[in-house]
């Protein structure tokens, strides 16, 4: 079973969000997501400065098998991108919660994250998924 860090918040669409010390929010995809996708070979990130609303499509990952959309779980401005993913998309497979992060958002309202799932609720939502 996937090992989901307790300090993160999770979306049913398989993204995670982490509140950084400066109050910005980092977004990536979960271990369960990378596991079901298989080897990731291509990533499309949002652009710097994009204004995302919670639930907006913010990018895409393609594995050897198929393409899959990435949604932003939070509302705000994109202020950083993990550019390593362009050359090393396999970081998403090897380290989905750290080196495999996607983008960082300056959120308008941190309380938005309260609507997301805790680690155990997300794990439960994933059972029966496959």
């Amino acid at each position: 079973m996937s090992n989901n860090p307790l300090e993160l918040k999770y979306a049913k669409s398989h993204e995670w969000a982490r509140i950084e010390e400066d109050g910005t929010v980092t977004v990536g995809i979960t271990d369960h997501a990378q596991e079901s996708l298989g080897d990731v070979v291509y990533v499309e990130l949002p652009s710097m400065g994009d204004q995302l609303a919670g639930g907006d499509q913010a990018g895409l990952v393609e594995s050897v098998k198929a393409a899959s959309d990435i949604f932003s779980p939070v509302t705000g401005e994109v202020i950083a991108l993990n550019e390593n993913l362009e050359e090393e998309p396999e970081l998403i497979n090897s380290d989905p919660y750290n080196d495999g992060w996607f983008f960082r958002v300056k959120v308008e309202d941190l309380s938005e994250l309260e609507g997301m799932l805790a680690a155990d609720d997300y794990a439960e939502a994933c059972t029966g998924d496959d």
Binding site: G38, D39, V41, Y42, E44, L60, E62, S63, V64, K65, A67, E86, P89, N93, D130
Partner: protein, 366 residues
């Protein structure tokens, strides 16, 4: 899920961490724990073991030879005992009903056909041939890769005398095995038909060799794409001629206009005409620029602005060997073979270079 058939070795695949997906009515292992990329590269460097028991195995009597001359553009009478060849079931209108391997054995012909076409093939063959026997008690395994012979030798010493496209009946622990030196990966290797009751033990005997790894349908697809091999439903369809699909070589020279037995097979009018005068479309290989894969169904244009598609991608994905996207496509014949083409991916036109549809040079033992 309930209508999906299980492979006879389903339990082996589950134990090996197989991830399953429906394909041609079967619940097929797409990959195992290592993943498509690792399985692909393992097959290119050592030996991959694929369970392809979903494929149809059919036996025809030798008396079917007259009918087979009509159904296949092959010189079937010239196929020696102990050899097989690749061929096509053509349609009246010059398309392709299925592609297959046909082996000439001592007492019969053995056909291996696509799972997705098995029923259509049976109906078609049944109209021309009596006594088509479907083999339902045998698993089919493919052992593929540069180590395949070395892996198989301790179990079946005779394989060392086989060369590419030879077929033989051999024995392992008194079990009769139908074996051919062939495959669908562009590697040396063997396809092994063995009674379901012995298949699991045989599989374990192969897997004891650390050079052997189970590989799923995902790697099978990326391997055959690199080897430029067509897949039914993609490069081959009832409305695509063998000439368009780049399979002129499968039309035996004796069946061509200048051959000893010209024509007289289904669809010969169109197929021989296209051989002489060219076809409307041709199959090409593509190397997309950048890393974005261009997949099956992506439309091709001659410029970033062009409004009329000039072709369509029939198979596309990521090549683990080249670490880059590759694709195959059908494109209008009048398009210059040096021209850059543009694939429309999610509304954007991305550049791709036309290349020969062969991304990996095969190393068969001829």
């Amino acid at each position: 899920m309930s209508n999906l058939k299980q492979l006879p070795l389903h339990a082996v695949h589950q134990t090996a961490g197989g991830k399953f997906s429906p394909f041609a009515g079967y619940n097929m292992p797409v990959q195992y724990t290592a993943g498509v990329m690792a399985e692909h590269l393992h097959t290119r460097t050592k030996a991959g073991l694929f369970d392809v028991s979903h494929m149809g195995q059919l036996k025809l009597p030798l008396s079917a030879v007259d009918a087979l001359e009509i159904l296949l553009p092959t010189d079937i009478r010239a196929l020696p005992i102990g050899r097989q060849c690749y061929s096509l079931l053509t349609t009246e209108s010059g398309g392709v009903l299925d592609d297959l391997m046909i082996a000439r054995r001592q007492e019969d012909y053995l056909l291996v056909v696509n799972a997705s076409r098995r029923d259509a093939d049976l109906e078609h063959l049944g109209r021309h041939i009596k006594d088509v026997v479907t083999i339902d008690d045998r698993a089919l395994l493919a052992l593929q890769g540069p180590c395949a012979e070395a892996v198989l030798m301790p179990l079946i010493p005779d394989v060392t005398h086989m060369r590419f496209m030879d077929v033989a009946v051999v024995y392992w622990q008194a079990h009769e095995i139908w074996i051919s030196r062939s495959g669908y990966t562009g590697e040396d290797g063997f396809e092994i038909s063995i009674l379901v009751s012995a298949a699991e033990d045989f599989t374990h005997a192969l897997l004891e060799n650390e050079d052997v790894a189970l590989c799923g349908l995902g790697a099978r697809d990326s391997l055959r794409m690199e080897a430029g091999m067509p897949l039914y439903g993609h490069e081959l369809k009832e409305d695509i001629s063998p000439i368009e699909a780049g399979l002129s070589w499968a039309i035996h020279r004796s069946r061509r206009a200048t051959g000893k037995f010209p024509g007289e097979f289904l669809g010969a009018d169109r197929i021989l005409r296209e051989l002489d005068h060219g076809a409307a479309r041709r199959r090409i290989g593509l190397k997309p620029q950048g890393r974005a894969p261009m997949r099956d169904g992506v439309l091709l244009y001659d410029s970033p602005e062009g409004s009329e598609p000039i072709g369509v991608i029939t198979s596309g994905g990521f090549s683990p060997s080249l670490r880059a996207p590759i694709a195959m496509a059908l494109i209008k014949s009048e398009v210059d073979s040096r021209a850059t083409v543009f694939g429309e991916v999610r509304g954007r036109r991305l550049e791709a270079q036309q290349v020969k549809p062969l991304f990996h040079q095969p190393n068969y033992k001829r």
